[in-house]
């Protein structure tokens, strides 16, 4: 069952495009110039809201759709026109897609039988992989008798038992309940690490993407707007869309001035800030905004007069480990999250507070619709 890292291959999609004809809008791109490079053994996630083209991109990589333009390359081999059944992929579907007329054993054995393997080898491989996904002893059950989580494990076993060169997931966890989703994503990640299979994973859940992936490609309107690690995307989003899609964001109206020493001066919230990371060359379209994550802001009670940035607590939610505040400051409503430091830590509603944040956590983002989006 083990595949050494040396077996893993790289996967790349080069400017993949897929058009369809819409009754009203005419020619529409489901995916446009999608380019990704997945290193051997890497786990890459396509993340985006529904309709962003991530599933279309994945289906072109799988071979279920023929692209109108671009290339798909598996380990140096151009597979763009190769049918799905000759690509050596393992595909896990959102709805599991288990064969309802076959038992768990026969579902898992299906790909091995197609490959003409001998009965004995099939039996061993199937029971090994079922053990791996924690379903030993379920061989004779039928899909209809199993829970959603169990069915997804069977689907996973069926996809990996054939030792695919590339593992592809299309929103595999979205039909499961919240708790199971968290459990399963850890298992998928652990399994992928253990088998070292190059993996492309599609989801709309940013938390899932961050928990499971080596890198994430964020998609919007058929194109990839940014690719990077979870930390990259969170701390250095390329556009306002990425900033809002990954985590929670305060996006504050800002005016930008040049400043010396590689720093940049920004007017926002009635104050002037000198930002440490100007993101040179990143200026996009639309108005610039100052991005402040809710946990980057600290609050302190103010008594009397001060020069500091001052606001008032509008509302608060006590969530146990943390407290979420909405603070009004210079006409902007800001979300602030503080970890609970004890019973005396709570700020009352209407309290006057000073807001602090470090220069290097605030960055500028632009509206900047990605190129080619119509």
């Amino acid at each position: 069952m083990k595949a050494g890292a040396h077996d893993a291959i790289g996967v790349s999609a080069d400017r993949l495009s897929k058009r369809f004809t819409h009754a009203v809008k005419g020619e529409v791109y489901a995916a446009r110039d999608v380019t990704i490079d997945v290193a051997p053994g890497e786990f890459l996630t396509l993340l985006g809201p529904s309709g962003c083209g991530k599933t279309t991109a994945l289906r072109m990589i799988a071979g279920f759709e023929i692209p109108d333009g671009g290339r798909v390359v598996f380990g140096g081999q151009d597979v763009t026109l190769l049918p799905a059944n000759q690509r050596g992929i393992g595909f896990v579907f959102q709805n599991y897609a288990l064969f309802p007329h076959l038992s768990v054993f026969e579902n898992v054995a299906y790909g091995l039988r197609v490959r003409g393997q001998a009965g004995g080898a099939i039996g061993t491989a199937v029971s090994d992989v079922l053990k791996l996904v924690g379903l030993a002893g379920y061989e004779s059950q039928f899909p209809a008798q199993m829970s959603g989580g169990e069915q997804q494990r069977v689907a996973l076993a069926r996809a990996i038992v054939i030792r695919p060169r590339v593992l592809l997931f299309d929103e595999p966890l979205s039909n499961l309940d919240a708790k199971l989703r968290v459990e399963m994503r850890h298992e998928i990640r652990a399994l992928q690490q253990r088998l070292a299979i190059t993996t492309v994973y599609v989801t709309h859940d940013q938390e899932e993407a961050m928990a499971i992936s080596d890198r994430i490609a964020v998609m919007q309107g058929g194109t990839i707007v940014q690719t990077g690690s979870a930390e990259d995307l969170y701390h250095r989003p390329a556009t306002r869309f990425v900033a809002q899609f990954i985590g929670r964001a305060n996006l504050i109206d800002a005016r930008v001035h040049d400043a010396a020493d590689g720093r940049i001066a920004v007017d926002a919230l009635g104050h002037r800030f000198l930002l440490a990371h100007p993101r040179a060359g990143m200026a996009g379209g639309g108005n610039p905004r100052l991005l402040l994550r809710p946990e980057a802001i600290s609050l302190a009670k103010v008594v009397g007069k001060t020069d500091e940035l001052v606001g008032a607590v509008v509302s608060r939610s006590f969530l146990g480990e943390k407290i979420e505040y909405v603070v009004e400051c210079a006409g902007e409503q800001l979300q602030v999250v503080r970890y609970n430091a004890g019973p005396d830590d709570l700020l009352p509603v209407q309290a006057k507070v000073a807001l602090h944040f470090a220069d290097d956590v605030a960055i500028l983002v632009w509206d900047d619709e990605p190129k080619g989006h119509s």
Partner: protein
Amino acid sequence: MRPGVGARLRAEPALALAIAILWVLIALFIVYPIAMLLARVFVEDGHFTLTGIAAVLTDRHQVVAFWNSLLLGTLVGVIGTAFGFIFAFAATRCRLSPTLIRLIDVAVLLPLVSPPFTMAIGYIFSFGARGLITYDLLGIKGAGVYGMTSTMTAEAATYFPIAYLALRPMIAAIDSNIEGMALSLGASRWRVFRTVTLPLCIPGLANSFLLLFAASLADFATPLILAGNQFPVLPTQAFLQITGLFDLRGGAALSLMLLVPALLVFVAQRYWVGRGHYVTVTGKGAGQAPFDSVTPVARWTLVSLCVAVTLFIVYLYVLLLYASLVVAFGANEAFTLQHYRVVFTEGLRVLGDTLIIAAIATPLGGFYGVLLGYLVARKRFVGRTTMEITSMVNYALPGTIVGIGYLIAFNDPPIVLAGGALIIIACYVFRYGATGIRTTIAMMQQLDRSLEEASESLGASSSTTFRRVTLPLILPAFFAGLGVMFIRSMTAISATIFVVSLSWTLVTVKILENMTELALGVAAAFSVVVVAIVFIVIFAIGRVLRRLRAAGASAVTGLLAT
């Protein structure tokens, strides 16, 4: 056209070949006969002419037949739908015991799976000149059973089960909590029924009216026996024109007058209430009513009505069985097996012919239905929608039109099939295979494409995927299609009466002959034998379907209602 479609067809020569063969068959057995029928009526000496149709339209007798047909269809549609609704409502909302529902189901199924005259024959035994009720009970001498009332009653009794089968899943699918909600808001039960339940049923009622209207319009056997001289209708007039007067052109023109209302029904069904069809396939009951939908008085009225109608049908079939076992019903009622002796000696050949034809037509039609349904539902090719609609034509048209079309098309060169078994088989395959097509399409629509993609991703080729995944999953549709093919092959007459011959004939035609020769006992015996065979086959297919874990084990009988 998208790039890739043509390329894929080239890459799958088997697919392209299957499509080509289907088109040839459709052209030959669906388009060609209809075209020949139209040509016979509208073309004379190479010129377009309206004289053929004008001759019919100016003949007062034939115009009366046209209006009679419409009147009969409308009455049967209304009455049959009303009874179908009462049965369906009682079965879903009156807390009947499952045993009672099963008994009702079996009883109302009888007319659907019998040769088309059985109800009419039973009717004559009961209400004819020597009828059990008219003569023996009421002492009426020379009772006139023939006419519109008898035809209408017999047709309504024969076809209302269609409305029942179509409406029952629909009413069951109405969440009774909606009714409970209205009740909790203070509405009376009658008001809830009038303002909530009934409006929700209107699409289903419209659909079932159309189904019954079409069935009555096309019905040939019942009026042939019961309508008499005073109430001519189009299908029988067309038949008599051809077999009595040897006027093929006049018969064809008459049958064409059926075409207009039949086409209107087809269009209305497909584009107006067509969606109701899927409710019957996928509809799931919303559970047992959590409250009483009807008052006790209403409940007892409905149940009594249903039981009375059911008993009436059973009574007619018991008469039929009894008549097959006595020397001469109404005259000499001594027990005898003579009629059955006739069936299994002289009648053996016709029984054999029918079974041979059914045995060949059934698998062919089942295969044709699944193949065409699969291709239309899953593959992309030029003319796909045209193929789907064309494949329904012979099924949607009244049998009389189809039969006369076959008679005209295959009697003379270039293609002579008349006199053989093939013409009968083709008639069945391309008429009743349509049920299999519709079931397969409906089934494929419920079958997620990802199953086939999963197989493909695991390395299976297109044909392996079809064989190991798709085929096993649409097997229920195949068996249901087989069931319908067999039942129809055993019981149909309206189209095939025009294509039987001395060398190949059918039980239904033989029954008709016996009726006209007044060998009523033999006709009854034949009918009983056919009903028995059909019931055995339905039972066997039901077992197979249950084995296949099919969702709808009653699919065969359900399909007769579409």
